[in-house]
Symmetry: C2
Subunit: 103 residues, 2 copies
DNA sequence: TTTATATATCAATCTATCTTGATACATAAA
DNA sequence: TTTATGTATCAAGATAGATTGATATATAAA
């Protein structure tokens, strides 16, 4: 019940849906790339990523200074169906820009 | 997008999950039966039912003085999968009591 | 070390949602 | 009609969530 509420709660925000869909398309992105793509301040992005991660949609991998977010795999069928549903909402997706200073 | 947000928004509340699951089990119930089963005041139940209806989960049928709520059919696959997911959350369900004064 | 960069967290403010009690409306019985 | 019952809606207060700016932490370059 708590897990379910956390899951749907994470989906109950336009910004998070866009971020989640973006990551689902891009495979793996670091925070600053999301920051650049959506033109939002870093603390805002960071908070939404945390919520999506704790809702079971994302995983993080830290490499050097960066935190790379991607869809958690394997993903249960319910969350898979949610990602599919979101994919077909026709949301405008920003393109991937040069995010951080160095690669 | 708005529809999707309305759908997950409707699910983002413990009371509504219980009401939705209750109706899914009982097939068709009137407002006062839900009121009795959950021991909540009428305006609260009524509001949640409205939200669940507008989110595409429920339909109402008015017969005489009563409003009977049931799962909307046919229901799309996404909402069906949500109902299944909710069904397996192991929520405690109140039993159906004598709701209204007369039948 | 010192400095810069990437990310996370916190406190304050703002906004949306939930609950309650009162009231409105509709139907049917008296 | 008048009265009672079932349901919906509204306003006010309470609670939860979102955004921002500031700060903390961690890594790596200088």
């Amino acid at each position: 019940m708590e897990v379910f509420l956390k899951t749907v709660g994470a989906l109950n925000d336009e910004t998070r849906l866009k971020i989640l869909n973006f990551i689902n398309h891009q495979d793996e992105v670091c925070v600053c790339e999301i920051e650049q793509a959506f033109d939002m301040i870093q603390s805002r992005i960071s908070r939404h990523l945390k919520i999506l991660k704790e809702a079971g949609f994302l995983k993080v991998e830290r490499r050097s200074r960066w935190a790379y977010y991607s869809i958690r795999k394997p993903l249960d069928l319910f969350r898979q169906s949610i990602l599919e549903e979101i994919k077909h909402l026709g949301m405008e997706m920003p393109s991937l820009k040069q995010g951080c200073d160095i690669e």
